[in-house]
Amino acid sequence: MNIRYLMAASALAMIAAAPLSAKTFVYCSEGSPEGFDAAPYTSGTTFDASGHAIYNRLVQFKPGTTEIEPALAESWDVSEDGLEYTFHLRPGVKFHSNDQFTPTRDFNADDVIFSFQRQGDPNHPWHQYNPGITYEYYSSMEMAKLIESIEKVDDNTVKFTLTAPEAPFLANVAMPFLSIVSQEYADTLDAAGTREGLNNNPIGTGPFRFVAYQKDAVIRYERNDDYWGEAPKIDQLVFAITPDASVRLQKLQAGECHLMPYPSPADIETIRNDPNLKLDEQPGLNVGYLAYNTTVAPFDDVRVRKALNMAIDKQAIVDAVFQGDAEVAKNPIPPTMWGYNDAVEDDAYDPEAAKALLEEAGVSGLNMQIWAMPVQRPYMPNARRTAELMQSDFSKIGVNAEIVSYEWGEYLEKSMEPGREGAVILGWTGDNGDPDNFLSVLLSCASAEDGGANRAFWCNEEFSDLLAKAKASTDTEERTKLYEEAQVIFKDQAPWATIAHSTQYVPMRSNVTGFVQSPLGDYTFEGVDITE
């Protein structure tokens, strides 16, 4: 069934039961949301379906960038010492209505305080509104430790006091887990004894109003006519959940949906050649890497790590594994991010020099493991193939590599064990566009401790000090300098082989306009339209 037929038929159907009006935008999403309260969850799929479609934050990322712009807060002031953030809230913002709830007041400071405190305060009556609920982002970004107090100055002013200056604070506030929910709706649910409604039947201020979710099948939204921002141009937004990438493409080609995420790299050519489709491409805010265990011999010797890095033909990996749709990585942060140090020289591919360096380090007949992750990620479409290419590269310098892999859950667990043997293929996609979100999370001394994400267990005091200094400063120019310096140390010490920054592709029907790709990999549909 093609879309024209669907639209004509839906016009007919409107007369009968008014189910769909003329402009219905269908997004073939790749998975089911875990719920519609964005706070307890961590997956992008959930954020697209909840945080981005239904809710707003105090501030937001300007479409297509990681710059912060006003959202529910019209403006904000930061105190000299960087400890006080005063947000001036937008007046006249209306929450959605549903069959259980019609708001009697506009959005105000109470909603902001409620949205933060229910996550941060273990004694808050809504902290455990679903048994076993946890707030992973709030806790892993250490928001509770960071925020000393939140104070209502008046209905339209909220003051946050921090325990220490934190430059990425605004970027954190723009993330979906800090979506603003309605305190009044929570009260209504409480009175009705249906608290799980906060997660199943969401109310927000966002561009689309939640209509219905049929588990694992379809999510339906309609336009929020009272939206404070520019009103969406489509009337209905539908997520058709389609887990398989090839099937998504078939649906797109058949006109059963307008736009899809995550095409498989092998299908890019087909999409380019289909006259009914177009392809939006953008460098992704990600990095794929191979992390050595820098605490275990002989990988504790920087010369060994450097030698292995020089032995890897990264361009060959980009060509074979990413089908050319990626950029060879030299830094741990992607080039589209501010603070990227382009002056850093990558260790050039040079097996001869690598061999010599290995000899100099007194290492011969080295046996090692390369860990290949079992799942596909935008930063690493095929870790097994990547590992095979590295294996053959290493054999050229006399290093015998064995490829090992575990099921994903086990992979995550075992790769965190401090005495781990072998080098691990993994990667990262940015949450909020701040360099700290890469460098501190993945490479700081703190992250090398138990349970952190630093799979190289690399702890360099000088590097970590630079990060701490940068985090405490609100001067972007100064921060940029500090991060540039940190990248020089990183390259010099080589805890990882940086592999690639992949390109993000969004295939869509040719008649779709106004879709702006987010560098953070979010899918938002406020601005989309369908032309005839």
Partner: protein
């Protein structure tokens, strides 16, 4: 007959307890851990891990967790999903009708085609029909479901444009669930074209899901028929001058059906396994895909209770199959 049913029901009790142990133990034997999977690439500190584990009850010894689980089960509480936090029973009930609808259509399809093909192949043993259909059955039985499903989508939905690619009904139809069975709900909705749309969405997935059972049923029917056709009573029936259609239809087929019905009953288990792949390819919102997602997220309550529910259904279906023997074969009924 009542004693027969009661004795069969009695078997269910130890089986039930066995399944709870297997279901509970199986998912915990898999390496990997739900808390770490939730944290993903980011990792989780030991303090934070302890807090979450305590909230989820994982800090207690495993035997204690099992007893709690069993106790809750006996009170009808299947637990809540770790991921969605919703009751497992609610999720199951939301998804189960979709699987049943697909499985019923598939088994009907497999039986309606498989039995006549098997009978014909047996009667015309050694003919070109026999050879082609039995080769076809072998191919069907060995078919990799995922590949087969994609192939059909690419050809019928992509190239020919005859069938929709995936889903249960066209997105232009939106009506509330009444029974959860799309064929029924689309009729109840009274919306023009809804039923046709639901049928067209069922065609490819049910063909894919029916493929393996169809092959098995056809082969089983053929061999059962061949065996029965050599029996004395068939020779007698022929000798007394009955029409061949009556000999085959009444005397042979009825006796040959006993192993075939067992096979069909056993296929319910196969269908549940096939549903996992079929549902994933066709974005069919059923329990197969739900189980797979839950296993990969180590969503313990969903996996253990979901497995239990599926096992119960297979058990009940097999019981019903046992009972139908009685209807067909008086010897079993009167034992």
């Amino acid at each position: 007959m009542i004693r027969f049913i009661l004795s069969k029901l009695l078997y269910l009790v130890p089986t039930f307890i066995g399944i709870t142990i297997v279901a509970f133990g199986f998912i915990r034997l898999l390496p990997g851990d739900p808390v770490l999977l939730m944290a993903g690439e980011r990792g989780v500190s030991p303090e934070r891990y302890a807090v979450i584990a305590e909230q989820l009850g994982f800090d207690k010894p495993v035997w204690q967790q099992y007893l709690t689980y069993l106790g809750n089960l006996l009170q009808g509480d299947l637990g809540n999903s770790l991921v969605t936090k919703r009751p497992v029973m609610d999720e199951f009930m939301a998804l189960f009708p979709a699987t049943v609808e697909l499985a019923v259509v598939a088994i009907i399809l497999a039986t309606l085609i498989g039995v006549p093909v098997g009978v014909l192949a047996a009667i015309k043993r050694g003919s070109w029909f026999d050879q082609i259909s039995m080769t076809g059955a072998l191919v069907g039985f060995s078919m990799p479901i995922f590949w087969w499903g994609l192939l059909l989508i690419i050809f019928f939905s992509g190239y020919l444009g005859w069938t929709p690619v995936s889903g249960r009904i066209s997105l232009m139809y939106y009506f509330p669930d009444v029974t959860g069975f799309m064929l029924i709900d689309s009729l109840l909705s009274g919306e023009k074209g809804a039923f046709t749309s639901a049928v067209s969405h069922l065609i490819l997935p049910s063909v894919v899901l029916a493929t393996i059972p169809l092959a098995v049923i056809a082969r089983q029917t053929r061999s059962a028929m061949l065996e029965v056709m050599g029996e004395d009573y068939v020779r007698t029936a022929r000798a007394k001058g009955l029409k061949p259609s009556r000999v085959i239809g009444i005397h042979a087929l009825r006796n040959a059906m006993i192993p075939v019905i067992t096979t069909i009953g056993l296929q319910v288990g196969v269908l549940m396994a096939g549903a996992i792949l079929t549902e994933t390819i066709f974005s069919w919102p059923g329990i197969g895909k739900w189980m797979i997602d839950s296993i990969s997220r180590r969503d313990y309550p969903v996996v253990q209770s979901g497995l239990l529910l599926i096992a119960l259904i297979v058990m009940v279906v097999n019981l019903l199959v046992d009972l139908t023997y009685g209807l067909i074969n008086p010897r079993i009924r009167h034992k």
